[in-house]
């Protein structure tokens, strides 16, 4: 659809939202055509929305969706715009509903330890207010300063300290959700706003999280709060080979320390990259081949006791503590990965501007070594084909406190300005191959970002099997006119029979 200025649609939207909250300018739309995932910049125009609206309340979101549904206009929800699976990127033009103005803190309930917020708020900003009450909302992605609660719901995000506090799905108790036709429902455990466990009816909360805006828009959410930790401990250790580091990360995760909030394994390629381009690691001796870090949070006495236990375990497995400066600095930097040096190298070593891209999957502990080798082979192929790609190594982060599975990511630098159709095709093929390796090892294509980008999305039906057919049926039932984020997750198939 193309909305022309003067269209009755525009007039109606201006009536609903006020003229200043309906944006049609080219810059306003261009800024909302992409996310930080690599993007064929020469094809920017294909992803332009026709207009952007900035509602201020659930009621306004509902009115916008009612209008869009009646006229069959595509709608794409957008919050921080940091999603790495292109969820907030319009594929069919239409209206981008940018929810950033719905960012109020409506209530802080100190007795039930919850707060209720507009989904346009960011956890960093929220925590600055909660900190005054000695509380924290511990949803902590590496995009902590810039992703927002609605996007965390839309992606069902993953948190760095989720092994202690849970991930977005555990931390969001309930929310107001606007269905594609404009009806507002409240989803949570049962109907309660602040209920953390219910067995009443279907468990709809999970359905309306992680759908990448294909089932409607969350506008107000009630979140679970924790006491703000008194102490943090984030040791980093060096190892002389990957296998020792791999054994150590497993042992740390399985140790059962109550304040354990997560551990991360850095492989040899990651260490090579860091030694090349990261201040903290440039001076490390070449005998350092792999790294592990862990993070603990809680009261000081608990963290001290847990910390000593983890230090003992790491030492018994050949770890060398890297010192307080790296440990403290690098852990804090995990909360704002935008500071990653955004340059890569050509094969001859020349510096080139590159954007960071991370392909993620959930992989069981026992399959990490094999997936790592297979993934680097794919990255190596890309690197051999072109200077557009640079292998920046892999991380594996614990998903939970028992160490069963890991958010496994390979970071690839991409020289976007040089992405032409051929390089883009090579990239999409590589993404499909990475996802295939994941499935061959019993993993899930994404632990954190979602899997609706070109390449990996082709394998989602294979991953979900019969569940994918259920997904199609649900999409058709909830969004009969396919207005919500059309084109994502191959969900157009849901309407094939109908048309």
């Amino acid at each position: 659809m193309t909305v022309l200025l003067g269209d009755p649609v525009l007039a109606e939207l201006r009536q609903i939202l006020g003229p200043e909250h309906v944006l049609t300018g080219r810059a306003d739309r261009l800024n909302r055509t992409r996310v930080p995932a690599p993007f064929p910049v020469h094809r920017w125009a294909e992803r332009m929305p026709d207009l952007v609206v900035l509602p201020a309340s659930t009621e306004e979101v509902a009115e916008v969706l009612r209008l869009a549904d009646s006229l069959r206009i595509p709608v794409v929800p957008r919050d921080g715009g940091t999603g790495l699976t292109d969820g907030a990127v319009p594929l069919r033009g239409g209206i981008v509903v940018d929810v950033k103005r719905i960012n109020q803190i409506k209530e802080i309930d100190l007795d039930n330890r919850t707060c209720t917020v507009g989904t346009g708020i960011n956890a960093l900003k929220l925590n600055e207010v909660l900190g005054r009450h000695g509380l924290i909302y511990p949803d902590d992605p590496a995009s902590y300063p810039c992703s927002l609660v609605g996007g965390r719901i839309g992606t069902s995000g993953w948190s760095l300290i989720g092994s202690r506090y849970g991930h977005t799905r555990d931390l969001v108790l309930s929310f107001d959700h606007v269905l594609p036709g404009g009806r507002v429902i409240h989803v949570g455990d049962g109907i309660g706003r602040k209920i953390t466990k219910s067995s009443s009816g279907y468990q709809l909360k999970h359905l309306f999280m992680g759908h990448q805006g294909t089932l409607g828009i969350a506008s107000e959410a009630t979140l679970k709060l924790f006491p703000k930790p008194e102490a943090e401990f984030s040791p980093f250790w060096a190892f002389e080979d990957y296998d020792s580091a791999y054994r150590a990360v497993g042992a740390l995760a399985r140790a059962g320390v109550a304040t354990f909030a997560g551990a991360v394994l850095f492989d040899e390629w990651k260490v090579d990259y860091l030694r090349r381009d990261d201040e903290a690691y440039i001076p490390q001796p070449s005998s350092v081949k792999a790294l592990v870090c862990a993070a603990l949070y809680g009261y000081e006495d608990e963290v001290r006791a847990g910390g000593r236990r983890l230090l003992r375990i790491a030492r018994s497995l050949g770890a060398r503590y890297l010192g307080d400066e790296i440990s403290e600095g690098d852990w804090a930097a995990r909360h704002d990965r935008y500071a990653t040096p955004l340059h890569g190298r050509t094969r001859s070593g020349q510096v080139v501007p590159m954007s960071w891209h991370c392909e993620d999957a959930s992989i069981n502990y026992t399959n990490l070594p094999a997936v790592r080798l297979a993934w680097h082979e794919i990255a190596d192929r890309l690197r051999r084909e072109s200077d557009v790609f640079d292998d920046w190594g892999m991380f594996a982060y614990t998903n939970g406190a028992t160490g069963a599975d890991y958010l496994t990511e390979i970071d690839i630098g991409i020289w976007e300005q040089r992405l032409d159709d051929a390089a883009w095709e090579a990239w999409v093929r590589a993404k499909r191959d990475l996802a295939a390796v994941t499935l061959a090892h019993g993993g899930s294509i994404s632990a954190c970002h979602g899997s609706c980008r070109a390449g990996e999305v082709d394998l989602v039906p294979e991953e979900l099997g019969g569940g994918y057919d259920v997904m199609l049926a649900i999409k058709r039932a909830i969004d009969p006119n396919n207005i919500m984020n059309p084109g994502k997750y191959l969900l157009d198939q849901a309407y094939a029979e109908k048309s």
């Binding site: 600055e128 300290i161 930790p229 930097a333 340059h343």
Partner: protein, 84 residues
Amino acid sequence: MKYRYQDEMSPPPARRVTDVAITRFEHVFEVEPALMTDHVTQQDFPNWDTLRLVRSRADHLAWMHRHFADKVLSGEELLHDLDE
């Protein structure tokens, strides 16, 4: 405080750290200049600005820590406890 343009624009001599990095100030590393000639070229930076950038990053990280906990424990100290 005195500001002498010439002094500020003359960084201390470089010392090679690895085959791709050099250093001029303690704990501050730069890409080997020969590797920044084709696609991205190096800029001249006054010394104070280089140091300011490094310090503000440290301030930022300290600020980030404060969002998550009141205190950061020292591993060196805990290791010392283990050895006792």
